[in-house]
């Protein structure tokens, strides 16, 4: 018992150290003006910055030490994700360091896989991972692509959508189903048989739509179906962490505004109607944090699949709803300035609009949760 307590305390201290260094980095290197400047660029982030984050060891956080990473857990990843999201860093940290690294971690070991993982850890590889179908469903059993054996390799067909990052990646990773379960393919950006289009999002980033027609691939990296499902849940939870950071920032900006904006001779934060609405935002923030914290702990504890998926969908449902609610309320409490492009709140509102629906919105994840926790059975515990 005592030993556990000490270990927890140690890891708490480590997490605080990590949070401090992320904070220091973000303050110095990621001012909001930068996020403002980069939106609607193509790509909308800087590869050099992602390389710098790799230099901090962050992109290799979830990658085993044998491949140049740190082999740490999701509590640590959450600290980084939260810090970057709070400053609206457009670098695709979750898509690359969580989803990309996760898919490769989940794949069977091999020279290609190992090289890609080391590349993510050192910042030289930045994959865009395509797996979600064009309907925007979230079903690991049905990745967007199908692959069949050909004379000297594989033929890949299908279409994926909502791929983040949409541009600026160094290579493609495609998840396909085969007769023998899911596999992962790497394809160069210019591969024949791969059509791309960009779909701009509210925050000035873009998602890719990827169509494979007769794409030839030499080598397939086998993925365990269970491991694929786990990686997607992990990505979902980190997406919820991104949203939590947005919620916190929008709420604190609004609180600051209520304290300083004067109307009728008083700060508007002295009006009870606004105080109560601000408190309701606090409640949503705290509920989101509680749900996200439970999900992150379950990932690190290696919870059984059903519980892990339940918690991931629950965290996403709460975070997406709370982020959208907070965005609407923050605009209202700011008044007219809240709908202007020149005010920073709008950057957070637009990022919320982009991140809340990614990998499925609140409604989809409530349904997913419900499917796993039907009424007759013992509920999630």
């Amino acid at each position: 018992m005592m030993a556990n307590v000490e270990i927890d305390t140690d890891s708490d201290a480590q997490l605080r150290l990590l949070a401090d260094s992320v904070q220091a980095f973000a303050t110095k290197r990621l001012p909001l003006a930068r996020a403002r400047r980069l939106r609607r660029e193509n790509p909308e982030f800087e590869a050099a910055m992602l390389a710098e984050m790799a230099g901090q060891g962050w992109t290799g956080l979830l990658i085993p030490e044998s491949m140049g990473g740190f082999g740490l857990g999701f509590a640590e990843a959450a600290v980084i994700v939260e810090g970057l999201s709070a400053q609206l860093a457009p670098e695709p940290f979750v898509p690359v360091a969580v989803l990309g690294a996760g898919l490769l971690n989940a794949a069977a070991p091999g020279a290609q896989r190992d090289a890609l993982l080391s590349g993510i850890a050192d910042g030289s590889v930045m994959p865009a991972c395509a797996w979600q179908d064009t309907q925007g469903g979230f079903d690991p059993a049905y990745p967007a692509f199908r692959a069949r054996r050909a004379a000297d390799g594989w033929i890949v067909e299908g279409e994926a959508r909502f791929v983040r990052p949409g541009s600026g990646a160094s290579t493609w990773l495609l998840v396909a189903r085969t007769e023998n379960g899911p596999v992962l393919f790497e394809a160069p950006l210019s591969a024949a048989g791969l059509d791309l289009s960009m779909e701009p999002q509210a925050d000035g980033t873009a998602l890719a739509r990827v169509r494979a027609h007769g794409l030839c691939a030499n080598e397939a990296m086998p993925l365990g179906a269970d491991r694929l499902a786990a990686v997607l849940d992990q990505t979902l939870v980190m997406n919820a962490v991104e949203l939590l950071a947005l919620i916190r920032r929008m709420r604190s900006m609004t609180l600051e505004y209520l304290r300083t904006r004067v109307q009728f001779g008083k700060p508007i934060g002295s009006f009870q109607a606004l105080q109560h609405r601000q408190v309701d935002l606090l409640l949503q923030e705290e509920l989101t944090e509680a749900a996200v914290r439970e999900a992150v702990a379950a990932l690190d504890a290696g919870a059984p699949a059903a519980r892990r998926t339940s918690l991931a969908s629950r965290a996403k449902a709460r975070a997406a709803d709370a982020a959208m609610h907070t965005a609407r309320e923050a605009i209202q409490m700011h008044g007219g300035i809240g709908v202007t492009d020149e005010y920073d709140l709008g950057l957070y509102v637009n990022r919320s609009l982009a991140l809340a629906p990614w990998l499925g919105g609140a409604r989809l994840h409530r349904q997913r949760w419900l499917a796993l926790n039907p009424l007759q059975s013992v509920t999630e515990s």
Partner: protein
């Protein structure tokens, strides 16, 4: 297992199992999950059994006849009772008067009152609320004027839970009308049989008489019945609100109500109704997130830390979830929603209105949720009024 057992020396798991077994085996089956607060006549035997076992006052120090439980152990004790549907005994003497006297009472007061609470000879009720005061408790007007060796009390208290069954009442009274609102208030103990005290039950929407109004007309209370210093009652009353505040935000009411809702949904075949199920899933996830947040505060209590004003969050979240669950239960009941009590529906019986009625005052008592929001806005967020 005698009165001197050091319960805190047991591991949490062992203690939990012990308590669980006791509540499972000894608590009367017909009194589990009562729909309304039980009257003294119904709960008396259980009260006396707890007393005999030495488990009536879990939070009191052992030297006064309590179990001397640490906050962590007390959480377990309460959780297990809630889990097993154990009703609250008339516990004002145990949770309020006892701790008050132990902290602030004179030796004579402790020696006289504490054993009589434990024996069931004295049943206490709480004289805080007044008409027109509501959550603005400090605006109370019932006054006590010193006349020789007695205070003469005049005024009215209300929302006095189960005053019908009480032998004693503890009162917040105004003893200095010239002082500021929170000052000039004293804490007074009174015997309900004193001439001039009249009690009148208040019937609620569900038809129950859980609360009373109490009237005081020239009631002479011995001077030695004051607790602590004259005009310092408010400070004492506030200090009594300890970590028990966490229980106002317990998810247990919602957990119990949603279990009833789930039975009703399955029975009525509503699982095929996608819109209804989305509404249900929202509430269930609200509950699970509330439980996760509750754990954060429970950990604080277990570590022996003092709860801050942020605990008000739990009360708001919990009681408003509870009301939404009760509301959805009415929707699930359809045309039968207005029928009261155990209602037969396709061969099974359900009771939805009890949750509806019970959930109404939850957002009012213990400081209305609007007051809780004021507390959070001013004390936690630093907004000025």
């Amino acid at each position: 297992m005698n009165a001197t057992t050091d319960w805190n020396a047991l591991s949490d798991e062992d203690f939990r199992l012990l308590v669980r077994q006791f509540f499972r085996e000894q608590y009367p089956e017909h009194l589990r999950y009562p729909k309304t607060r039980l009257r003294w006549a119904q709960i008396r035997d259980w009260y006396l059994m707890l007393s005999k076992k030495g488990w009536l006052a879990p939070a009191w120090p052992v030297e006064y006849g309590g179990m001397g439980l640490s906050p962590a152990k007390l959480m377990i004790f309460t959780e297990e009772g809630e889990r097993r549907g154990v009703a609250r005994a008339p516990d004002m003497g145990i949770t309020m008067v006892g701790p008050l006297l132990i902290q602030h009472g004179s030796e004579a007061q402790k020696a006289y009152y504490l054993p009589k609470i434990l024996s069931g000879e004295h049943i206490w009720c709480q004289g805080y609320s007044e008409p027109n005061a509501g959550s603005d408790l400090a605006s109370l007007r019932t006054e006590a004027v010193l006349d020789g060796e007695h205070f003469v009390v005049n005024g009215q208290k209300t929302w006095t839970t189960l005053a019908q069954d009480a032998t004693h009442i503890f009162l917040l009274v105004r003893t200095d009308k010239s002082a500021k609102k929170q000052e000039g208030i004293s804490f007074l103990l009174a015997d309900m049989s004193t001439p001039g005290i009249e009690r009148r039950p208040i019937r609620n929407l569900a038809g129950h008489e859980e609360f009373c109004e109490c009237f005081f007309h020239d009631v002479r209370v011995p001077r030695e019945n004051i607790v602590g210093e004259l005009n310092r009652g408010w400070t004492i009353a506030k200090a009594l609100l300890g970590f028990e505040r966490i229980f106002l935000g317990s998810p247990k009411q919602s957990q119990y109500a949603i279990a009833r809702l789930e039975e009703l949904i399955v029975h009525r075949g509503l699982t095929a109704d996608a819109a209804f199920m989305d509404a249900y899933a929202r509430l269930k996830l609200d509950l699970l997130d509330h439980m996760a947040l509750y754990e954060r505060f429970a950990d604080q209590v277990r570590r022996g830390e003092t709860l801050g004003p942020d605990v008000s969050m739990l009360k708001i979240i919990g009681t408003e979830n509870y009301q939404r669950i009760a509301q959805l239960m009415l929707e699930a009941a359809g045309s039968a929603a207005g029928l009261v009590g155990d209602v037969e529906l396709d061969g099974e019986s359900f009771d939805w209105l009890t949750s509806y009625y019970n959930s109404r005052p939850a957002t009012i008592y213990g400081g209305a949720n609007e007051i809780q929001r004021n507390i959070l806005a001013t004390q936690l967020l630093g907004l000025k009024s």
